[in-house]
């Protein structure tokens, strides 16, 4: 094959002048057409291998020579058009060709159908042409016959490429060839539609059918490969043919692609119906999707970009099926279990960010591991605190006064949603978690609604505490009315007096948080 390649490259230079006379002297005999077909094959193999511009130029020049051949009659030109279109269609599916080549091919094809202007054109026009082609493709998609024919033709193309790519692996890793296949397949399916656009659509298709009939026995395999294309192109769309078990699509033709290709019986289920269905419903969008995706893939974007683009592509057309479509990133395992694991982990990591608000000091910490450490520490410290406090409560329990207890239960009652952050006396044996007392008290007082102006320093705190409590409570009558317990000023005064009675033994009184929730005292 290599020798053939090199020989053909040498020959192709000579091919132009020699091809011109052969095409110019076209007769309607089938032999010559077959000869041309064979030539197409040979050139196809050569061009398939090469990615160089030299080859592109050769091809373009060859096309120009074909197009501008003036001496052909109408019928000959029509046959020539078939050949050209066929050639272009096949060449368009060559994996190693870039998008530009394909666009030039399609453009030249379009130009062939038009008034035989200069075949080569600038890329912007090509884009318009291709998009115009794609738009008109949709109209043909509804034809069921077309669907079958297109399917068969694409099978033919894909089958041939399947055979070739396994043999020829120049400059291509194993992973990317299925990708190229998918790229080809998208164009394969579009090329027959392009040929439909030509005037002699029927004949052209018959020619294709003749070509494909040679490989009719391998259509099953082709359908499987087409399933691949379906998978990759419509990976974002859950195809109906996919069996009920969970299915995940990987991008960039990972080993997953190979694994799917190695399961033909699975993909064979209801292939024909699914193909026709797919063609009918998805074609316009599919081809554009396919084009977008193949362009993305062929441009060899970076992994992260690709993943992001794929994810952005996956999100809009994602139908609410019962399985999840996940894209495997490059270099990561594509096993279904590991994919599920990754999805789970990502979800958890997203929600971990919610915990950052809860755990103090977690905002500055970055990274999942560190945050997890912080959270673990915090939860442990909270649990230890509870334990310590319960022990302390046990010791205090014996000294408790019942009446005070009942009042305290009302006193501490907080009708609001906010947490109570009491400030502890500094000389208490409370854990150092609540160390910052005095500045916090000052903050609280400055922000709170202090209604009492007492002078006595000892009573000051208590008054202000209760004053705050009372005023803030009065502002929440609605909330308070839900509960049977209601504060009255008498109660509070009694509490104050009780507090006074114990101020000798009392340490600095507890200060209740402002129920407006504006004073979130840091722990």
């Amino acid at each position: 094959m290599e020798n053939q390649f090199f020989s053909n490259t040498n020959v192709s230079q000579n091919l132009q002048p020699s091809s011109m006379p052969t095409w110019q002297s076209l007769s309607s005999s089938e032999q010559q057409q077959q000869q041309q077909n064979q030539d197409c094959f040979y050139t196809q193999t050569t061009w398939e291998k090469s990615t160089t511009d030299q080859c592109i130029q050769q091809f373009d020049s060859a096309l120009s020579s074909m197009v501008s051949s003036p001496a052909a009659s109408n019928s000959n030109m029509s046959n020539e058009n078939f050949v050209i279109r066929e050639l272009i269609g096949k060449l368009g599916n060559i994996g190693n060709c870039s998008d530009e080549i394909s666009q030039t091919l399609i453009a030249t094809n379009s130009y062939n159908t038009s008034c035989y202007n200069t075949p080569l054109n600038s890329p912007p026009k090509l884009n318009i042409q291709t998009m115009a082609m794609n738009s008109t493709v949709a109209e043909f998609s509804t034809d069921p016959g077309f669907a079958e024919r297109a399917a068969k033709f694409s099978c033919f193309g894909s089958r041939s490429f399947n055979g070739r790519t396994t043999q020829t692996q120049l400059n291509q890793t194993q992973r990317s060839t299925p990708l190229m296949e998918n790229g080809k397949l998208s164009r394969v399916s579009s090329s027959p539609s392009l040929k439909e656009l030509g005037s002699q659509s029927q004949l052209g298709i018959q020619e294709n059918m003749n070509c494909s009939s040679q490989l009719q026995d391998q259509i099953e395999v082709n359908n499987n490969s087409q399933e691949e294309s379906t998978i990759s192109e419509n990976g974002v769309k859950p195809s109906p043919y996919v069996n009920s078990r969970k299915r995940k699509v990987s991008s960039k033709g990972k080993t997953k692609e190979n694994s799917t290709s190695s399961n033909p019986p699975m993909a064979c289920e209801g292939v024909e119906d699914s193909n026709s269905k797919r063609m009918k419903t998805n074609d316009g969008e599919k081809i554009e999707n396919g084009k977008v995706k193949t362009e993305e893939e062929l441009k060899g974007g970076t992994n992260s970009n690709d993943e992001k683009q794929n994810k952005s592509n996956t999100k809009p057309p994602e139908a609410p099926k019962d399985y999840i479509h996940v894209r495997a990133r490059r270099g990561q395992a594509t096993d279904s279990h590991s994919l599920a694991e990754r999805v789970r982990r990502e979800k958890i990591s997203e929600r971990m960010k919610l915990l950052q608000d809860l755990v103090p000091g977690c905002n500055k910490v970055t990274g999942k591991a560190l945050m997890l450490d912080e959270i673990i520490n915090y939860v442990q410290s909270l649990q230890r605190q509870v334990e310590f406090l319960s022990m302390k409560l046990a010791t205090v329990n014996t000294r408790m006064d019942l009446s005070i207890e009942s009042l305290i239960s009302k006193d501490i009652f907080q009708p609001n949603n906010s947490l109570a952050h009491p400030i502890f006396p500094q000389d208490s044996s409370a854990p150092s978690y609540y160390g910052q007392q005095n500045p916090a008290i000052h903050n609280n007082i400055s922000n709170g609604n202090v209604t009492h102006n007492s002078v006595d320093p000892l009573e000051n705190g208590l008054f202000q505490n209760l004053g705050m409590h009372l005023s803030s409570l009065s502002g929440f009558n609605d909330a308070a009315s839900q509960y049977p317990l209601t504060f009255s000023e008498d109660d509070l005064h009694s509490i104050v007096q009780m507090g006074f009675g114990q101020t000798d033994n009392r340490k600095t009184p507890i200060q209740f948080q402002n129920l407006n929730g504006t004073n979130q005292l840091p722990l």
Binding site: R351, V379, L389, S406, N416, I510
Partner: protein, 160 residues
Amino acid sequence: MEAQQQNKRRRVYSMEPNKIVQSIFARNYLSYLVSALMKIKENTSSSKDHNDICKNVKYEVEMAMVLSAQGFAWSNGLKVKLQREHINNVATTEGDNNLGMEKDSVREDKEDEEKMKNLISLIPGGEEICDEQVVNELESYIKCLQMQVNVLQCLIAETC
């Protein structure tokens, strides 16, 4: 909502109990705890061991937590644990101690999954919580722990 309905078959906890619990946690907690403490006080005689009192108080403290924060998986787990331990009269600090000893070695070179497992083990009944709800449960548990600590501190300070 579909997920909620699906989850309903598996669990009976509401999806947003946080707001409900926060508003009434302190009240419920205190009402239960104070009455329990009074009962303990009534029942205590001078001859009773301090440890017993401690255990009882601890039990009541945690029971109050369970009753004040219903609707979470961890509260159920805590209840189960309490019931199991109350029968056996075993100390409830095993989990913390074990984790405390492991922690230093854990930190060195454990992966995130191990840390997640540790974190889940901190939550009472955490192993039975399905993965998607772990974070929600963790959130509510931390909030309730914070509230519990605050309430206890208030109580202790008021009664000192």
